[in-house]
């Protein structure tokens, strides 16, 4: 048994045979021709066919991975029609009286050298696009397609890396999993795997060889492991895990697409919490009606330096686009001395939970805050984005935040950069915010109760300390009264109140929350459907 590890982009287990994808580059030979006209006619036909193929791929990719990711095929069409590229091919044919294949090969080399010699890393990588379109022409001329997935039973696709044009051409019914040696969790293959809800590993530490073709393997997307020729023990264990997963899926599938409403007709917004863009597939798969808590910290935690406005913009935009009009509530930076990020230069503290963190950093260092706000406001053009601020304790903080938001909007308008309107809410996670909720409700569009911190601050119990377990009561009436008070004050001001902490997923409290009038529950994606089941079986009017 051989065991390798990679970064998992989607959980799940795949068991099957390996299929090694290898790129075969065409060899072209230079041949003198008499009839150049004939070569040029062949060229026009091949070009026309290539554009037709790319158009079909574009349409297919739009459905599979969305318009933004499909754009590459439109660009390839433009490249094929680029006059410099076409003139070069025609010129070589007529001036040197050579075969079309050779002219394409030389042109491809010239154009890809141009890109490869550019300074910019991104542009360097574009040499691959030139090769890709030229290979397509050569394949058409040869009457054969490249890297076709020819198999009767579904396989685990093993590759160095996969270009969008390569994955889109594959028959999706035949793919159990993707495992690539290169590629990032944001690569095209990763996005495709998430959309298809199949396990996939990228950046895997194995060496590709043709010998692997046809070997038995198991991909465990939960642990990011691939077992090649697995032993009996591993096989049995993972087969059982796979069956359990499938049972669970089947049971809950019956709840997909169903409304979140109680027997007596009370509607609830049932949202999901995410901590990374890689969780998005789970959100869609579990049919949440929106994202109630997008923890933006991961963008900072995964960076070596402050993430730029554009890096953040791209992430927020892709989340908004993926959710396609469903609400996405982004919580601004919630970092503190316990979640350490070197480049913030935070000093160690005696009481990190009571220290320099979250909105306190943002209000003390408004430059960091403004960069994030600009990215959020710009991304809101692409979907239904709301923003919420963590660790609020006073009215002054909220007013100051709103001033900063106005400043950011003014700057964006002056720079003529497009942005959208966003709803603004606050996290209710300190007892101070609960006590001030009547006044705070008049300043914002919604409340979201963070029960983890609220419980810790209300009971003055550190949950990391096992000695305190005996004193800890997750259902402490003090916490429940805090929640009730928050919801009542929200409704008095005509705004909505939700719960995004762990307590929201506590099924033994669902009925009580519904009685209080909680409008929104946001839980981890895997908890959405079990919670939907309980909501739909609850009658709030009955004891």
């Amino acid at each position: 048994m051989q065991v390798y590890h990679g970064k998992s982009v989607f959980g799940g287990i795949a068991i099957g045979k390996l299929w090694v994808f290898s790129k075969k580059e065409h060899q072209v030979v230079r041949v003198k021709v008499q009839d150049c006209e004939k070569e040029l006619v062949r060229y026009e036909q091949a070009k026309e066919e290539a554009i037709k193929q790319l158009q079909a791929l574009y349409e297919k990719a739009c459905k599979e991975v969305g318009e933004a990711n499909a754009a590459i095929f439109e660009i390839h069409q433009m490249m094929l029609e680029d006059e410099d590229y076409t003139d070069s091919i025609k010129n070589i044919v007529t001036s040197q009286q050579v075969n079309l294949e050779y002219a394409i090969g030389v042109t491809a080399d010239n154009f890809s050298t141009m890109f490869a010699s550019m300074e910019d890393e991104y542009m360097k990588a574009r040499a691959a696009d030139v090769k890709d379109i030229s290979e397509r022409l050569l394949s058409i001329l040869k009457g054969k397609s490249n890297g076709e997935l020819k198999t009767d039973t579904p396989v685990i696709v093993l590759a160095d890396d996969l270009a969008p044009s390569e994955t889109v051409q594959m028959d999706k019914e035949k793919i159990l999993s993707f495992v690539t040696v290169h590629g990032s969790v944001n690569s095209h293959t990763a996005i495709l795997a998430r959309t298809m809800s199949i396990p996939a590993l990228v950046g895997t530490d194995l060496t590709l060889s043709e010998e692997l073709n046809g070997q038995e393997a198991i991909v465990d997307g939960f642990s990011g492991t691939i077992y090649i020729q697995p032993d009996e023990k591993i096989r049995e264990e993972l087969e059982r895990k796979k069956e359990e997963e499938e049972e669970k899926k089947k049971l809950l599938l019956t709840l997909k697409g169903k409304e979140d409403v109680t027997l007596d007709g009370q509607h609830v917004m049932l949202y999901a919490n995410i901590g990374n863009t890689s969780d998005l597939a789970m959100v869609l798969k579990n049919d949440a009606s929106g994202i109630g808590l997008f923890r933006s910290e991961f963008i900072y935690l995964e960076s070596e330096d402050f993430p730029t406005e554009n890096e953040q913009f791209q992430i927020y935009k892709s989340v908004a686009e993926t959710m396609a009009g469903k609400r996405v509530i982004i919580r601004t930076l919630d970092i503190g001395a316990d979640k350490k990020v070197d480049y913030f230069g935070l000093e160690p503290e005696e009481n990190p939970a009571l220290g320099y963190r979250a909105i306190r950093i943002c209000l003390s260092q408004p430059d960091i805050f403004k960069t994030q706000l600009r990215a959020i406001l710009r991304a809101s053009v692409y979907g239904n984005i709301a923003v919420m601020y963590p660790m609020i304790t006073s009215l002054e903080e909220v007013r100051r935040i709103k001033e900063i938001v106005e400043e950011v909007k003014k700057e964006l308008s002056e720079q003529r950069i497009a942005f959208g309107e966003v709803l603004q809410g606050i996290m209710i996670e300190t007892p101070a915010a609960v006590m001030m909720s009547e006044e705070l409700a008049k300043e914002v569009d919604f409340f979201s109760i963070g029960t983890n911190d609220l419980t810790q601050y209300t009971l003055a119990i550190d949950r990391q300390n096992p000695k305190l377990d005996a004193f800890y009561d997750a259902h402490h009436p003090a916490v429940l009264r805090m929640i009730q008070m928050t919801v009542e004050n929200a409704h008095k001001a005509g705004i909505w109140a939700g719960i995004c902490g762990e307590l929201g997923a506590d099924l033994s409290l669902t009925k009580e929350f519904l009685k209080m009038g909680v409008d929104e529950l946001s839980v981890s994606p895997g908890r959405v459907l079990p919670l939907r089941k309980v909501i739909r079986e609850t009658d709030v009017t009955k004891a």
């Binding site: 439109e74 490249m79 590229y85 910019d120 542009m123 890096e311």
Partner: protein, 85 residues
């Protein structure tokens, strides 16, 4: 002839997608549209030429428009630049 210049704000500069969008817009006009980045001007209807400029964030690119619909072309191109670059 009309001219117009624009300083790129996008972190990635004129990468493949905006270059493609520019070609798409430019091709809807009959006017000759050229783009340059400090050096010689290239045809804005050819994607390789545009990408070959290697225009990055902070670079100021110049456009020239020459033809019957030059005014409309300038307007469409400047709008595109502001929205996506």
């Amino acid at each position: 002839m009309k001219t117009f210049s624009y300083t790129i704000k996008d972190e990635q500069g004129i990468h493949a997608r905006p270059a493609g969008e520019l070609v798409k817009v430019a091709k809807t006009f009959t006017s000759e549209i050229k783009i340059g980045n400090g050096g010689s001007m290239v045809d804005a209807k050819k994607i390789f030429g545009i990408m070959g400029l290697g225009a990055k964030k902070g670079d100021t690119v110049e456009f020239s428009f020459d033809g019957e619909d030059e005014e409309q072309a300038l307007e469409a191109v400047s709008k595109l630049m502001e929205n996506s670059l």
